[in-house]
C-alpha cells in the first residue's frame, strides 16, 4: 500500500528531515510510526499526502508513483486517503455534520448518500446525537472523533493519523486507538504517527521508529518492528 524507497527530504534551509528511509506497508496493515518530535514523522506523512515532495528517492501509494503525479492530480490522491490531524483541523463555522460531509461534497455525492454516510461515520465514532452541534461545543476527545469521522466518511483504503491522541488523556487515547483498530479490521490500511510509546507498545502492531530522520532497526522486544525493504 505504501512503499518508501530510499527517500530523503532536505528542506531549502538545509535541514534534512528524512534520510534514506525505506519501508513497505502492506494492505490491511496497521502500523505505528514513532520517534521523538522532530524525528521526521510529520514529514513522512506529508510526503504520502504530497504536501511535500521528496528530495531523493521514491514514494509509492497504492501502486502509484507519487513522483510522476502531476500537481493537478494531487486532489485525486488525497481523496483516496483519510487523514486525522493532531489539531483536528475542523471548521468552526459549521456544524459537526457539515464538517464530516466535506469530503463527500468534494467527491460529489448526492445529498441523500451524503446524509447516510455522514450519519454512519458519526455513529461509528459515537457522536450521532451531536450532528447539529457546532464543533466548539465539543470536548477535545469529541472533536478528535469528529476529525476521525471526516477521515473515514469517504471510505478511504488508507488512513493516516498524525498524533491523534496528542492532547488526550490515557483513557480517551485508548478509545481512539480502538477506533483505528476497528477500521483496520474492516480492511483499511492505517498508519499512525504517535510518540505515546506506552500506549502503542501495548497494542500488537508493527512499529516503525524514526530517529533523526533515519529509520532504526526493530526493537529488541520482539514486538512488530520494521521490515526494511529488501534491496537486491
Amino acid at each position: 500500500m505504501i512503499v518508501f524507497d530510499r527517500v530523503s527530504k532536505r528542506y531549502p534551509e538545509g535541514f534534512e528531515a528524512l534520510s534514506e528511509v525505506s519501508f513497505n506497508i502492506q494492505q490491511d496493515e496497521l502500523v505505528f510510526l514513532t520517534g521523538h518530535s522532530g524525528a521526521g514523522k510529520s514529514t513522512l506523512l506529508k510526503l504520502i499526502m504530497l504536501m511535500e515532495r521528496p528530495s531523493r528517492g521514491q514514494v509509492l501509494v497504492n501502486g502509484q508513483n507519487l513522483k510522476k503525479l502531476r500537481a493537478s492530480h494531487i486532489p485525486q490522491l488525497r481523496r483516496q486517503i483519510g487523514v486525522v490531524f493532531q489539531n483536528h483541523q475542523l471548521l468552526f463555522d459549521r456544524s459537526v455534520f457539515d464538517n464530516v460531509a466535506l469530503p463527500l461534497l468534494i467527491a460529489g455525492n448526492t445529498r441523500r448518500e451524503t446524509g447516510r454516510r455522514v450519519r454512519a461515520a458519526l455513529d461509528k465514532v459515537g457522536l450521532l446525537a451531536r450532528e447539529k452541534d457546532m464543533p466548539i461545543t465539543l470536548s477535545g476527545g469529541e472533536q478528535q472523533r469528529v476529525g476521525i469521522a471526516r477521515a473515514v466518511v469517504n471510505k478511504p483504503r488508507l488512513l493516516l493519523a498524525d498524533e491523534p491522541t496528542g492532547n488526550l488523556d490515557p483513557a480517551l487515547s485508548a478509545e481512539i486507538m480502538q477506533l483505528f483498530e476497528q477500521f483496520n479490521q474492516v480492511g483499511v490500511t492505517v498508519l499512525i504517527a504517535s510518540h505515546d510509546l506506552a500506549l502503542i507498545s501495548r497494542l500488537q502492531h508493527r512499529i516503525i521508529t524514526l530517529r533523526g530522520g533515519r529509520l532504526i532497526a526493530p526493537g529488541a522486544d520482539g514486538i512488530g518492528g520494521t521490515t526494511p525493504l529488501g534491496r537486491t
Binding site: 506529508k46 499526502m49 504536501m51 485525486q76 486517503i81 487523514v83 483541523q89 460529489g108 448526492t110
Partner: protein
Amino acid sequence: MAMGASQSKTRLADRLRSWQLHHRVSARDSLLRLLHSPISSLMTWLVIGIAMAMPVGLTVALENASSVSMGWDSPAQVSLFLRAEMSLDAAAQLQQRVERRPDVHSARLISREEALREFQQLSGFGDVLESLDSNPLPNLVLVTPRQARLQAAEAAALQASLLREPGVERAVLDMEWVQRLNALMKLSQRAVWALGLILAMGVLLVIGNTIRLAIENRRDEILVVKLVGGSDAFVRRPFLYTGFWYGLGGACLAWLVVALALWWLHGPLSALALLYQSEFDLQGLGLVGGLRLLALGGTLGLLGAWLAVARHLTVIQPR
C-alpha cells in the same frame, strides 16, 4: 470492454451531477454569505452600482440626445426668408410653385403673423415684441427636400436654386449646426466610453480586492478543503460566485439609480420638449438594455473574482 465503457459512462454522469450540485451549492452559499453581512455587502454593491451607473446614465442621456438630433437631422430643411415687401398672396403662390418642384417633398408657408404669435408664446420675449411698433419678422417658407438625406453638394444646389426664386431674400440650409452637433455627439460618446472603461477597471479592482479579503478570511477552510482532496476548481468556485453576485447586485443597483435619475428628470425634460414643440420622450434603459447591464455586471464580477483567485488561491497550500 462493454462493462468498462458503461462504467466510465456512469462515472462521467456522476461527475457531471456532482459538478452541477457543487455549482448550485456554491452559488447559494456564496449568496447567503453576502446576505449574512448585509451592511458590508450593500456597501460593496453601492460602490459597484454607482461606478456602473455613471457611464450607463451618460450613455442613456447621449442616446436620447442623438435620437433628438436624428429627428432634426433628417430631412434637412431649407428655410426661405421672403422679402418684406412681398404680399401674403404672392408668398402663397411662391409656396405652391416650390412645392411642385420635383426635388421638393413639401413646402410650408408660415406667415409673419403666425411667426410672431409663435415666437411670443414660446420664446418668452412676448413683452419685448409687444413694445415694437411693427412686426419685424418676414414671411417664411419651410422647404423639405424629397430625398430624406441630402449630400452636402445636393443640398447646396437646392439651396442655390431656391434662392433664384423671385421674392426670396435668403435661403438658409439648416444643416451645418446639425453636422456640428453630430460631431460633438460622437466626441461625447467616445468620452463616455473612456469613462466607462476606467470605471469598469475600478469595478474589477473593487471586486478583486473584496474577494482577496474573502480568501484571507477563509484561509483555514481553504487549507482543510485542499487537504481532504478539493481540487483548485472546487476551491475557486465559491469565490467566483461571490464575485458574480457582487457584480450582479451592483448592476441591479446601477439600473435602479439610472431609472431613478430618469424618473427625476422626466418632468422638467418633457416641459422643455414642449417648449421646443418636440414630441421628444425620454427613453430609459429598456428591458434589453437593463438585462445587458446585468450581464455586464455579472461578467465584471466574475472577471474581478478570477483576477483575485488566480493571484491568491494558489499561494495557499497546506504545509
